[in-house]
Symmetry: C2
Subunit: 470 residues, 2 copies
Amino acid sequence: MRRRSKVLLALLSVSLATPLNAQRGPSAHARDSAPGLHWLEPYREPASRLIGEALGSTFAWDRLAVLTDTIGNRLSGSPALDRAIQWAAAEMTRDGLENVRTERVMVPHWVRGSESAEIVEPVRHSIVMLGLGDSVGTPGQDGVQAEVLVVHSFEELDANAPAARGRIVLFNVPFTSYGETVRFRSAGPSRAARHGAVAALMRAVGPSGLRTPHTGALQYAADAPKIPAAAITAEDAERLQRMTDRGVHAVVRLKMEAHFEPDATSANVIGEIRGREKPDEVVVVSGHLDSWDVGAGATDDGGGCVVTWEALRMMKKLNLRPRRTVRVVLWTNEENGGRGGLAYRDQHRAELPKHVLMLESDGGVFRPLGFGFSGNDAARETVRAIATLLTGIAADQVSAGGGGADIGPSMQEGHIPGMSLDVDGSKYFLIHHTPADTIDKIDPVEMAKCAAAVAVMAYVVADLPQRLGE
Amino acid sequence: MRRRSKVLLALLSVSLATPLNAQRGPSAHARDSAPGLHWLEPYREPASRLIGEALGSTFAWDRLAVLTDTIGNRLSGSPALDRAIQWAAAEMTRDGLENVRTERVMVPHWVRGSESAEIVEPVRHSIVMLGLGDSVGTPGQDGVQAEVLVVHSFEELDANAPAARGRIVLFNVPFTSYGETVRFRSAGPSRAARHGAVAALMRAVGPSGLRTPHTGALQYAADAPKIPAAAITAEDAERLQRMTDRGVHAVVRLKMEAHFEPDATSANVIGEIRGREKPDEVVVVSGHLDSWDVGAGATDDGGGCVVTWEALRMMKKLNLRPRRTVRVVLWTNEENGGRGGLAYRDQHRAELPKHVLMLESDGGVFRPLGFGFSGNDAARETVRAIATLLTGIAADQVSAGGGGADIGPSMQEGHIPGMSLDVDGSKYFLIHHTPADTIDKIDPVEMAKCAAAVAVMAYVVADLPQRLGE
């Protein structure tokens, strides 16, 4: 109750102060300075209505709260993901979306099981850890126990190859960017295994938190033994670093029950607003419904599911039916397999040429900045013009490189323009793949703005007289 | 290695830029404007030497790293605290301190054991928790299972007394200040028990972190049944809040093996620099060596132990022997009993009238601001003048209200002036009593400045021609 009043106050101040007033400025500006943008004029009114609808309540945040509170995290193959799929399809139907359906996808079913890590020599100290997704478990009852070799790069590992044999290799690489440090999570285990390591640990991929471990998938190379691998916190990695710097022989025991079960049945969840003139042409908006098996999967990527779905719910509610079909897809298995995106490409192959645009929101639903976009110059011009409708909520940037893990296969196969929702990313990697990925990290007003941005972009692209980019 | 180079660079820039240069300014000022402070002049040189010694290396941080890395956390009664006591006494001897000894103290021996909490209805979700110190455990194999009643104040609990019967009461009070919210941790369990609650949960006392639980002691009232109690994270408290706000009946199962074992033998660790003229008059500097049984007890209060001990080590190294004795005391059992401070009062009762000043550092060793002080006006004037010697490291504030949990009993009994080291407290409660209380949260240069501040204050007070306050 108390939260809600605070939120409503915040909403009130935003909706009074920002969208309507601020929008008039840029709109007038656009009218004056860009006489070629007369086509944009009819979209000002529906854009304002969509923004107003999004900002007028905490519906999106509340829906995400229901998903994350009552279903929680949703790893591929888990009963929770099944529940989430059924829940989403039922709710979409209740929203009045059209052609609501689940499209079957077989997904890998990795199970973490019980796991622990501990320094056992010279004295016992617990280590806060999360096994890496898709890792094998440790053998026997007692797990793996070995002295730790700390390295900071693949080069240092290779240069000390003989020292890795029989050891647990720790990659203690402080977080810089995700791209730079995730390499050690993905490829580190096999790099260490090639030199005879019995297990691999990595400093969790994320900025230093509060003893916060980050999971995420590894990728075993075909030519290396599969060894168990886990992420440990920055604090524990630094402790092992200091111990070995002092010449202490640190011995760690790692126990992991991780294993794969047979592939499981899962599904992408789909709903539509059918186009009023060209229903066979499609604009896809999407997020992934699966998550890692820690935290609540709020930022990664429950939020992306809800804000893209909101675009359709709001169009329905406001009776805005564009020329083309807008389709929301909630992907399965983004985190450890990508089977949802691959299945869509295969199941919709014949239809891909009719896909006008595919958007994925998978960077969190923090303060929206605008969009990343991949497509031809004409399409980019149009997208930039549409984004000016979002100046009032400061979500009008269009930067290079739109796409997403799940829309990637279809974009590539069908040469389809791709788009990502771009948001303030400063909090993202602090909670990414951690037990702290929970809804309290998400601001209801920022999330409403994300929904507004996706809705306006999707509606206008779907309604343009010409197909985007033509 | 890499950390050390960075630290040394930082040290270099600080020691080149700040203490010597900056100190000249205020000193000249003090000389000009306060002709009554001639007595301070002879202390400028030893103060500079102490500051230079502290800032010239990372000795304090390195010593704390050894304590926290190799011994780790140190709850009263644990083998780890015993090891820490033996280690500290041996290291003090190696430092050349005088009259190094351990003074026997019997302490409570609370053991956490295995513990867990889980939402079991309507669906299962794990809760991140830490049992409260001194709590009883849950009965039987299955623990306590009951529906949750969420309240936000004692008044709300009392107004809903019938609803508490048979329930697990959750105090969901967001952190404002420690004083305001710790009441619920201390007194909440008995308040709930009086109304028939079967267990108590509290939102952890600290700002929202990253699914971070905070332990700490509860205090059972004599007239209420003892029920098990645990802290849960802000995230989990908010989840239960939202569930009950939606009308969902949330059932939680709590399992705790917590129990007391018979009182254990422990000790305060003491070392001295004997005074050259009045060795029976004593200045005490101190921190507490025990900690909670999570994290590494770095900020609470390994750092306070090391920086106060540093004062004596540096005096010894620099051959600075004041008129009076400076004594470092590393207290046992601050966290759940205060037996170390009580024992010192009793064991040193005859000597208390000869105690000139007692200082405790228990607020972390972050950027020092100065001191809190309790004593008469004359003493305060003198302390303020001494603090001007710390203007170069910006640790020259003297505010009201110095003291500490362990020095309190002796201060009260002996009417002894009391002092606390005051530091930037912005990070303290984020890690207080959590698994994240580890040394990486402490900056070596800030810690060195803390050691410098304590050393200068202790040295000058111990060396004054007249006793402080006379």
